[in-house]
């Protein structure tokens, strides 16, 4: 038996995570990526590095070390305060150019920023990029297809980038072992961060920021962002969420009324109604809102778009009220009532009140 040679390109096994901050706030997906990156780097026997761009980054670099990075590349410059495609692209591409060997793997979050930036970097280096992964691993791959004879053979240490596809009904394993870096974006909430360790040692390296005029073609006039203040979506046991099916802003009064029937509850919302100004951003659940995991999630007049689903699919019990029996939300809810929110929700509240009343009576009987 002849020993197969490893055709994978030369590599020192380094994994680079492109971390992300918005207005100085480190995004949770970056810590998740460090958790995943640590696992991959250890498997490859390489180091885990990360790059963070921004203005006045303070102790963010230190935090990245606590969460698993060996080296943190820091680009701190007033021009980098807000994410902009071309200037961030420039700094990251310049950094990658300084590597003797390209990193084995480069990871970003599948956020609006990651999905904006990753394809530009991948196209610049003409390398492969897998979108929106839910699992990452390392393993060998034997390429058998003879379409391109030069590629046939064994590759060790390939990134297995696994992503849901065709409306989540399939999982596809995407590989691109011929060239490094092998790139992927991962869906927020999927990877697990390491427990922070304040004693971890790592290196912080400041990197030059050399922007050119053409990198500043796009101007960010304003960033409007409401970070959660009073709304305790993350801690709630029961979340009552309203969507476009409520028909108007006033519908949220009904949501609050239903929420009041439960202990430790909160009101959530879809992005569509937040955009319409029916309720503030801090109530938004989903990809660009909060990821929640209550014991019960009651979705009222919400269709169940993928961007909403990723923020709440891990809830204990999902109850959907929607007048359309074919609404996608019924595909992943546990209980579904087909009906008008304005008939169902008041009835729910009425029956709960009845229940509470009878509970009360019973107690009275007991004490007598």
């Amino acid at each position: 038996m002849s020993e197969s040679v490893n055709l994978a390109p030369p590599s020192d096994g380094e994994v680079l995570v492109i971390a992300e901050q918005i207005l100085g706030e480190l995004q949770p997906v970056s810590l998740e990526l460090l958790g995943a990156g640590r696992y991959l780097a250890d498997k490859l026997g390489g180091k885990l590095s990360t790059v963070i761009l921004g203005d006045n980054l303070g102790d963010i670099p230190k935090k990245l070390i606590e969460y698993g990075a060996d080296t943190v590349y820091v680009a701190d410059d007033p021009e980098l305060r807000t994410y902009r495609t071309l200037s961030y692209r420039r700094v990251v591409c310049d950094l990658l150019e300084t590597f003797k060997l390209p990193p084995h793997i480069v990871l970003l979050g599948s956020t609006t920023t990651g999905r904006d930036l990753a394809p530009r970097i991948a196209a610049n280096f003409e390398t492969g990029l897998t979108a929106d992964c839910t699992e990452l691993d390392i393993g060998p791959y034997e390429h058998k297809s003879k379409v391109d004879p030069s590629k046939v053979g064994l590759y060790e240490g390939c990134l297995y980038a696994i992503r849901p596809s065709f409306g989540e009904s399939l999982k596809a394993r995407i590989l691109g072992p011929w060239k490094n870096p092998q790139m992927a974006t991962t869906r927020p909430g999927q990877m697990t961060p390491l427990a922070p360790d304040a004693n971890r040692v790592g290196k912080i390296v400041n990197i030059p920021v050399k922007l050119q005029k053409e990198d500043l073609r796009l101007v960010v006039a304003e960033t409007v962002r409401e970070v959660s203040k009073g709304v305790r979506l993350a801690e709630a046991d029961v979340i009552v969420s309203g969507g476009y099916g409520l028909g108007s802003k006033e519908g949220f009064e009904l949501m609050h009324e239903l929420a009041k029937c439960f202990e430790n509850s909160a009101v959530g919302a879809s992005r569509k109604v937040v955009d319409l100004g029916w309720i503030p951003y801090e109530h938004q659940v989903g990809q660009t809102g909060k990821t929640v995991r209550p014991k019960i999630y009651i979705a009222c007049g919400i269709s169940g778009a993928i961007q909403h689903r990723v923020g709440m699919s891990k809830s204990g019990t999902i109850i959907a009220i929607n007048k359309d029996p074919d609404a996608p939300i019924f595909k992943f809810a546990h209980h579904g009532i087909v009906g008008d929110v304005y008939q169902i929700v008041p009835e729910l509240i009425r029956q709960f009140k009845d229940k509470l009343a009878t509970k009360g009576e019973k107690t009275v009987v007991h004490t007598h």
């Binding site: 394809p119 530009r120 399939l170 394993r173 590989l175 029937c261 660009t288 209980h335 169902i344």
Partner: protein, 277 residues
């Protein structure tokens, strides 16, 4: 530079996942049998392109890469008011990943000519990567506005609102630029009777139709076949695995009076455990 604008819109034909026909037993799509449709996200891109033409003046060119039946979506685009279409079709493009697709589209765009704005959909419903737009912008060295929800033009300057985590961002830049349009933008207006009628007439006259829809191949656009198709693709789909429909076992309460359905729900679910004491 004010209007009129030279506007390109990129559209892709995808399998219709609503129809169960054309699904292989393993859940992959049998492209020969599957029903086809215009990528639903590209309807917003079309609307945006047509909006620019109607508001500021200009010409809209739809561009698609795909097998010959993809001409159907270019016809559909003409019905909606697009001025002309280009179809890049070539067997050597089979199995292109996003990098190879963006390269081929880049060569097509430069073949078609000068432009001020390129509109793309947010993503497709089959590959679903949202990568082709930004990769094309990289090839063309353009600024990009992804996740664009709304925009207006002011003397050649694009002012746009885009989605970000927890909010929105207002950005602006001078054309040329590439924009990927979010599905919270205005839905595609119904096609006009006149548009549909005009396309019907055109279809009766292939020679005339050829003036509006042109099919090109890699040789015509002078693309390097080594950078297209499987050869030009750094990624491959190595394996697929069917996963059970999410949850898939929703208890449905349907077709009864609200009080009965609600009663049943309270009975069968764990709702009562969380009621206020």
């Amino acid at each position: 530079m004010a209007g009129p604008y030279e506007i390109f819109v990129l559209i892709k034909q995808v399998p219709d996942q609503g129809s169960k026909a054309g699904l292989n037993p393993d859940g992959t799509i049998d492209r020969a049998k599957a029903k086809r449709m215009l990528n639903p996200f590209d309807r917003y891109a079309l609307q945006a392109a047509l909006h620019v033409k109607r508001t500021y003046g200009g010409r809209v060119t739809a561009i698609s890469m795909g097998p010959p039946p993809a001409v159907e979506i270019l016809l559909e685009a003409l019905e909606h008011g697009v001025d002309r279409g280009f179809l890049l079709s070539d067997r050597r493009l089979a199995a292109s990943d996003t990098l190879a697709t963006a390269y081929a589209l880049y060569k097509t765009v430069t073949h078609v000519g000068k432009f001020d704005l390129i509109f793309c959909g947010l993503q497709t419903t089959d590959g679903d990567t949202a990568q082709v737009g930004p990769q094309l912008a990289e090839r063309l060295s353009l600024p990009q506005v992804t996740y664009c929800e709304d925009f207006h033009l002011d003397d050649g300057r694009l002012h746009a609102r885009r989605i970000i985590e927890g909010g929105v961002q207002f950005v602006d830049c001078v054309a040329p630029a590439l924009i990927t349009v979010a599905n919270s933008y205005h839905p595609l207006a119904y096609k006009s009777f006149r548009g549909a009628w005009r396309v019907q007439q055109l279809q009766r006259n292939p020679e005339e139709l050829g003036k509006y829809i042109r099919t090109v191949d890699l040789d015509i656009i002078q693309a390097d076949p080594e950078r297209c198709g499987l050869k030009g693709s750094p990624t491959i789909v190595a394996a697929t695995e069917k996963v059970g429909e999410l949850g898939g076992n929703c208890s449905m309460y349907e077709g009864h009076a609200p009080d009965e359905m609600v009663g049943e729900l309270i009975e069968k679910s764990n709702l009562k455990e969380f009621l206020v004491a």
